[in-house]
Symmetry: C2
Subunit: 268 residues, 2 copies
Amino acid sequence: FEFTIMVVGESGLGKSTLVRSLFLTNLFGNKTCPPAAERIKPTPSIDATTVDIEEKGVKLRLTVVDTPGFGDAVDNRECWQPIIDFINEKYDQYFKDESGINRRNIEDHRVHCCLYFISPSGHGLKPLDIAFMKELHNLVNIIPVIAKSDTLTQTEVRTLKTRILQEISDNGIRIYNGEIDEEDDSPEIRELRDAIPMAVVGSTTLLEVGNKRVRGRLYPWGVVEIENKEHCDYILLRNMLIRTHMQDLKDYTQDVHYENFRKKKLLQ
Amino acid sequence: FEFTIMVVGESGLGKSTLVRSLFLTNLFGNKTCPPAAERIKPTPSIDATTVDIEEKGVKLRLTVVDTPGFGDAVDNRECWQPIIDFINEKYDQYFKDESGINRRNIEDHRVHCCLYFISPSGHGLKPLDIAFMKELHNLVNIIPVIAKSDTLTQTEVRTLKTRILQEISDNGIRIYNGEIDEEDDSPEIRELRDAIPMAVVGSTTLLEVGNKRVRGRLYPWGVVEIENKEHCDYILLRNMLIRTHMQDLKDYTQDVHYENFRKKKLLQ
Ligand SMILES: Nc1nc2c(ncn2[C@@H]2O[C@H](COP(=O)(O)OP(=O)(O)O)[C@@H](O)[C@H]2O)c(=O)[nH]1
Ligand SMILES: Nc1nc2c(ncn2[C@@H]2O[C@H](COP(=O)(O)OP(=O)(O)O)[C@@H](O)[C@H]2O)c(=O)[nH]1
């Protein structure tokens, strides 16, 4: 079972921490962040890492695509181009493979899901966020998340979510909306869909709270428990990606995004 | 007694909240933040607001210079130019006034202090931060602060401060170092200087903690008290700006930054 997730967002938004939290694997190695002077002309690039993991007895070949340099420069025009090229390369590869002889054993390296990290600072989406989503919403499933949401009070989270959804709608952007069944959502699916864009906190640090051990962040004023739904939507995101929506993300990629690509390709 | 402070940093880093916290005045009016689509070509601009306030019986004519649009666009090259122009305009104005007839009543509108807000996300300074400080460190007193520092654990604050100071030194940037006396600092001055870059949290919300009322931010996992030195350096910044260093910031502007300007002007 293959699944490819891409993480996109400025440096320092907690992307590698969140990936490690979600999959309890260190897919980013021990990268040290180059000092800012070397990042003055950071070239946006793409790093893909694949691991075999097991989730509830299901073997999963998980590929995480990291996008270092995205949004980090003084001038960020076109910083999404390497991402577009990468996604199209995978569609192209699949297109060649499925018209080849050995199409029974075709490997699916297409990007099934793009987790887009929105800074919790700022009053809503930034111009870069909008530019990115407009370029990519017809190419890949975009799941926007509010990064490092422990920066925000509960009121601020609600305000920011409303604002982000409004700006997404005003700009004609179509994000992945988690609609699995045209009929009624189950309460569980409803809870996930209502939380979008999910406000996430990541951590691989184990802390003692009361008499239980939790993953969280220790502040002088308290402990953020990432698996506490009162504290953030981490659990909802994890359920959506791994339990309830993984197959749908793959189906939608195949039936909608890849079909778009295929049509354009055949018309050329 | 006139004092002008400029606040610089991307939108949403808590600049107006911090100014309101420091001076308990709403110098930013009730600005509503335009939606991101309108900010896609945000023109960096300058807004100066002056209020007369009283601090411990001392009347202070305080001007706060806001810099909306700084760092908010996709392409941020030269976004510091309006700031440089503004500072030079004030030096120019002073230069004309002090060579005029009525020089006894000269008004000092020069920028005495530039509070530069560093995002707590990111692994240190961003390329934009370095570019800005290199352009302005010989023009005005730069006091960098780590914005919204309640995003960071105590360990992360220490790591970030060390990293920022290293990058500042590597890039030959000279920030305002708070050195009032070449001889020994008093313990109070030492504590302020050692805290630079100060990690600040702002708030004008009053909360009940135990049986006292504090200004802070209420999270599900606890309350950040801005005036608690265990929680952030807000009190240290306030002391520095308003109690211990306000005169020195003015003197250094007059004796060093303005003198530089004057020399260049006379040599033209
Ligand atoms: N406040 C907060 N900090 C976080 C969170 N996740 C990670 N961090 C911290 O943010 C910094 C950058 O995280 P990292 O995962 O390396 O960011 P990346 O550059 O996007 O991969 C580290 O100091 C993390 O400990 C979070 O959910 N909340
Ligand atoms: N976590 C955190 N949030 C803050 C802090 N100060 C302000 N905020 C919040 O950040 C948002 C933007 O603040 P604002 O002062 O308008 O930012 P500005 O655009 O830089 O002037 C608001 O929701 C504030 O409540 C802080 O110290 N910590």
